[in-house]
Amino acid sequence: MKRVFAVTLGILTAIGGFVDIGDLVANSETGARFGMRLAVVVVIGVIGICVYAEMCGRVAAISGRPVFDLVRERLGPKAALANLTGSYLVTLLTLAAEIGGVALAIQLASSVSYLLWVPVAAFAIWVALWRVKFETLERVFGLVGLALVVFVIALIQLQPDWAALAGDATQLSPPDGEDWGTYGFYAVSLFAAAMTPYEVFFFSSGGVEEGWTAKDLLTSRMNVFVGFPLGGVLSLAIMGCAAVVYQPLGVQVDTLAQTALPVGIALGKIGLVVVILGFFAATFGAALETGLSSGYTVAQYFGWQWGKRVAPRQATRFHTVVIISVLLGVALLLTTIDPIQLTEYSLVFSAVVLPLTYLPILVVANDRAYLDDKVNGPLANTLGIIYLVIIVVVAVAAIPLMILTGVGQ
């Protein structure tokens, strides 16, 4: 019974923790502009993160090594240092975007400018990282993040023409008035929103920190294979809501208030309260994950003590990196750069750096010296190679598409 409870809790946490500022922005933007025509990319991205996270979870459980530790081992110090620079900067960009998302969510509830909330939110995030237990953080924000299920209810309440939405989803081409360039650009953003590098840094480091062993493989796999796809359903609901409300009016989405509006229209005040709470939890939780991940990448590259299981006094270099990262994130936001635009950039660069962390994991997941008999089977390897190709194509296309379309304008 206790085991069932733990598994259920893990799944719920994975669902709530799946959506972050990147998913909120990318899904509502694409829903408004392309209807459900890019829904298939969300599905591809979710399967991708399942393949990747399952490998990382297995490697973490059997070998006890988190992702960035292995990145240096497989790539050597020089290539891994270049990778570290890229991955750290992208994680930092994402951290800033998430802090901005927290501040924007509070603005929706208070009408006080988000810029004033940025330092407050950042301080709260740091205190949580400093004082609160890892498991508590993950559970609380994952579960409250489940509030975003309200998008599914809202979509049903909006009574869309389901057949039309489904038909739209099978059209793999841009609608009238949009070109292939922007279609491709948003496909990259959606893919990157589902397969963000920090998710696996966090997932694998969490596994190591919680001391996973082969016995925990089942739990880990349930979280991944049930939790992430259900999280993907939330993403699709966000996309669907935007498609139903905005696409007929030709309205493009570029604020968090717009992302929330369909829920208000469908469910009124209570729905709006729930969705704003969901935004807050999802971005706050993701800010914690990215904040920790910034420390994980650096500490694991250099072999420092890291994590929240020990007192900060025992991992001073790790905590210093985390503090500096939060401060840099705040500084970036206080330049008054639009957090939504920041999110768009963070997604593009996430796509660019992803292959460098994916490939070493795919290789290690085949190495019996690390995994013994738990190495990839034929299915994991077939999917692993298919996704390696997709990830490389997306990474190569990301920056040209960004420049070509002027960040999707």
């Binding site: 006890g64 400093w130 609160v132 072999g303 299981r309 007192a311 900060p312 006094r313 001073t316 270099r317």
Partner: protein, 132 residues
Amino acid sequence: MTDQPDPLRIDFHLLDRQIVDAAGEPVGKVDDVELTLNPATGRLQVTALLSGQQVLGERIGGRLGGLLAGIARRLHPVEHPPPLRIDLTHVASIGSAVTLTVHRDALPTPPLERWLGDQFIGKIPGAGHAGQ
């Protein structure tokens, strides 16, 4: 040493692996490996693991490595700090990590870790407690 690869591939099995102490806590990365020519036999022996940013910087070499080693030197209170040297006799096993027979408290604390503990992190309230 009880558990060891055969043969020992220094690049594959040692370099860039995580070193953990007897309790499994991270100590550092294997940033380089010390080889010694035994004067008696004339053979080359693997004698110690070397760890620290300065060693890493020297190994990477070039401008980038110089920068890394330079930063490590600057953050160090001693002029020419010796690297953290772990004799191979203190290694318990070589697997997905290199496990030592000793506890990390028996090893010198890395200077940056200690400095940050004294000057920065240690001064923030709650630094001595793990999460609640």
